[in-house]
């Protein structure tokens, strides 16, 4: 079994003030990440209870996803996510209730009205684009959106798309990168590199140690950041999006991270990851690191943190209860929305 050692332990790369972030923003992000993790925990519980048939985790990826979300002009820039991005869509404004409605396949599921498996996030209002499960097929849609901005002459918009490192071996991903590179389109390609494609370790799914290395072949810059460091991700995402909007072209942003749970509730990660490896990464949990930062910077004290956690649990409880009570889709809805009028 392949060893994927964590990067050397360290605190966060930046002070938030230096990045122009307010104390309140940091605390809101911290709370949001705790919400995301709590929702994730409860999804696994719902799965064990037989209520949620499918769960796919974002645990461990929260700093990457919140850091990127901060840099997005919400509702203006397009976001083209993948199944791993639950924390991202929460950061962009979806609610825990939305998430549970989706996971339980309810009529009001904003992603699909109960049609898609969990993890297929969507909101036209938030410009979060509906995806399939086909790995690597969606970055092309971000490229097409960016082409649309060229035609409509909306020079202040960008598209940001997310995928795992495994997806970067798909042909469709290559074509997306190629077109974005040729035309220097305003797309930020975010690779959430958690070092595994389900069970396949990075060495057998991509031919290079840093996915960012691939950028050179597409005529765009590649950046590597510590994906478990909220501020480092934000700084890089902000720079890449600003450059894209300013006509400076696309960026491949690689966020090194780790998923703290199995791939999905159908997976048993003990077959392919050593417990010690998982534990080492747990010690670098992005939420813990942000908490340490907040405490150390005296943005909050331990009691305040405890209050947040209590409030979050209560909030999530309400969301689950509401989602469980919500109606199932009407049977006739099966035949709706095949074609427009």
């Amino acid at each position: 079994m392949q060893d994927a050692s964590p990067p050397p332990g360290h605190d966060l790369q930046y002070e938030h003030a230096a990045l122009g972030l307010s104390d309140a923003q940091v605390l809101a992000a911290l709370r949001g990440m705790i919400v995301a993790r709590t929702v994730d925990d409860r999804l696994w519980l719902l799965s064990r209870q037989g209520k949620a048939h499918f769960v796919i985790t974002s645990a461990g990826h929260e700093a990457t996803q919140f850091g990127c979300a901060w840099a997005v002009q919400i509702g203006r820039d397009y976001v083209v996510p993948y199944y791993r991005d639950m924390a991202l869509v929460l950061a962009l404004g979806q609610t825990p209730r939305d998430i549970f409605l989706h996971a339980l396949g309810k009529a009001e599921d904003p992603a699909s009205g109960g049609r898609q498996m969990f993890g297929h996030f969507n909101s036209r209002a938030l410009r979060i684009v509906s995806g399939s499960s086909s790995v690597g097929s969606h970055p092309l849609h971000a490229v097409g959106l960016a082409w649309a901005f060229r035609i409509t002459k909306e020079t202040d918009l960008a598209a940001m798309t997310f995928f795992g490192e495994g997806a970067t071996s798909e042909g469709a991903w290559h074509e997306a990168m190629t077109i974005a590179g040729i035309h220097q389109l305003p797309v930020v390609f975010v690779c959430e590199n958690n070092q595994y494609a389900i069970s396949v370790p990075q060495a057998r799914e991509v031919p290079v140690p840093d996915v960012a290395t691939k950028a050179a072949g597409y005529g765009m810059p590649g950046m590597v950041v510590d994906g478990n460091d909220l501020f480092a991700v934000y700084a890089a995402a902000q720079a890449a999006l600003a450059r894209a909007r300013a006509g400076g072209g696309p960026t491949l942003l690689e966020c090194k991270t780790y998923r703290l749970r199995p791939h999905s509730n159908a997976d048993d990660d003990r077959k392919y990851r050593r417990v010690e490896e998982v534990d080492a990464w747990r010690a670098r949990d992005p939420i813990t690191r942000l908490e340490r930062y907040a405490l150390h910077s005296e943005l909050i004290d331990p009691a305040g943190l405890a209050d947040i956690r209590t409030a979050v649990v209560a909030e999530v409880d309400v969301a689950i209860a509401e989602a469980e009570r919500a109606p199932n889709p009407a049977i006739e809805s099966l035949l709706h929305h095949l074609y427009g009028e």
Partner: protein, 327 residues
């Protein structure tokens, strides 16, 4: 009214649609300076500029995927796949993405793209420049599949496809590009998707066909008319979803059905049409539903002698009609 051939009609459809609606743009390999390998986009670059006439890298998934993305922001992309034989790398984007976007998002998004591709044999194109690939696209809800056979329809159907709120695949037969001329109005007009055209009314046999075979079938119908066999020739025009009303109405009238397509027999769209007739017009049938199609080989071979043997022609169609009439 101007007389145009089919490729001119296609070009005129795109030019008029682009002039009328700034959201329409075309993309594909060699569509710019070269104007497309069949000249479908000739002159459009000079007129509309490189943002709306986009020379693409050789990346069919990329062409369709980019069209999909642009459509989500409200644009109306018309993608050209250089030959239907090269549509395969884009199948995932067409079937799993474009066709499903509306349904999977419960109507939140929709995907108004058009994908045009030249298809068909008889131009020495051999195994990879002659394929009929329509059957790969006629089992996926959310899509529409269109095959024009006249210049008038080519323009009207293409404009209808561009205005349609959902993805439409348009297969254009290469032999018809320069092989057929007809009246084509200036300016935009539409021919409705989903409606077959009765090209020749007849009482004894319903002949269902499309593309180049619509012309061959009309020729055959003329020949057998002199022998007293009265064939109704129906040009399906839209292969998915099929115009069931016209198909079944015709068979209920004539009692006999012959389906003619250039695609190979097994797995071609003829099977679906035959099954529909069997299910819904069985009692009207006076004879087995027949299919006439190309042999079950991969595509036409290059050699002239093999190509001639492979292709359907009016004579073969007339023979099939006579056999069915005699049943």
């Amino acid at each position: 009214m101007p007389q145009l051939n089919l490729i001119e009609a296609v070009r005129s459809a795109m030019a008029d649609a682009m002039a009328e609606d700034a959201r329409v743009f075309v993309l594909g390999e060699d569509v710019g300076l070269k104007g497309g390998v069949f000249l479908a986009t000739d002159g459009l670059l000079a007129r509309f500029g490189p943002d709306r006439v986009v020379d693409m890298p050789i990346a069919e998934a990329g062409i369709v995927g980019m069209a999909i993305g642009a459509s989500l922001h409200g644009l109306r992309p018309v993608a050209e796949i250089q030959f239907a034989d090269y549509i395969h790398p884009a199948i995932d984007q067409i079937l799993n993405e474009a066709a499903r976007l509306r349904y999977r998002s419960n109507g939140d998004w929709h995907c108004p793209i058009v994908v045009r591709a030249p298809f068909g044999a008889g131009v020495h194109g051999a195994l990879y420049h002659s394929q009929s690939t329509e059957a790969l696209f006629t089992s996926t809800p959310g899509l529409k599949v269109v095959v024009p056979s006249t210049p008038y329809d080519a323009k009207g159907l293409l404009i209808a496809a561009i205005r349609d709120p959902d993805p439409v695949i348009v297969f254009e037969h290469k032999q018809l590009y320069r092989g057929v001329r007809g009246d084509v109005p200036e300016g935009t007009y539409t021919v409705p998707l989903g409606q077959a055209a009765v090209r020749r009314a007849g009482a004894q046999i319903s002949l269902f066909t499309y593309g180049l075979m619509a012309h061959y079938s009309l020729e055959a119908a003329k020949v057998v008319a002199d022998e007293g066999i009265d064939v109704e020739v129906i040009d399906l025009r839209t292969l998915y979803p099929l115009d069931q009303a016209t198909i079944l109405g015709s068979v209920r009238k004539t009692g006999k059905a012959l389906i003619v397509h250039e695609d190979k027999l097994t797995g071609g769209v003829g099977g679906e049409i035959s099954a529909l007739i069997a299910e819904h017009a069985f009692e009207a049938l006076d004879a087995p539903v027949r299919r006439l199609a190309s042999p079950d080989v991969h595509a036409v071979a290059f050699s002239d002698v093999l190509e001639a043997h492979f292709m359907l022609n009016p004579q073969k169609i007339a023979t099939a009609v006579r056999e069915l009439a005699a049943y």
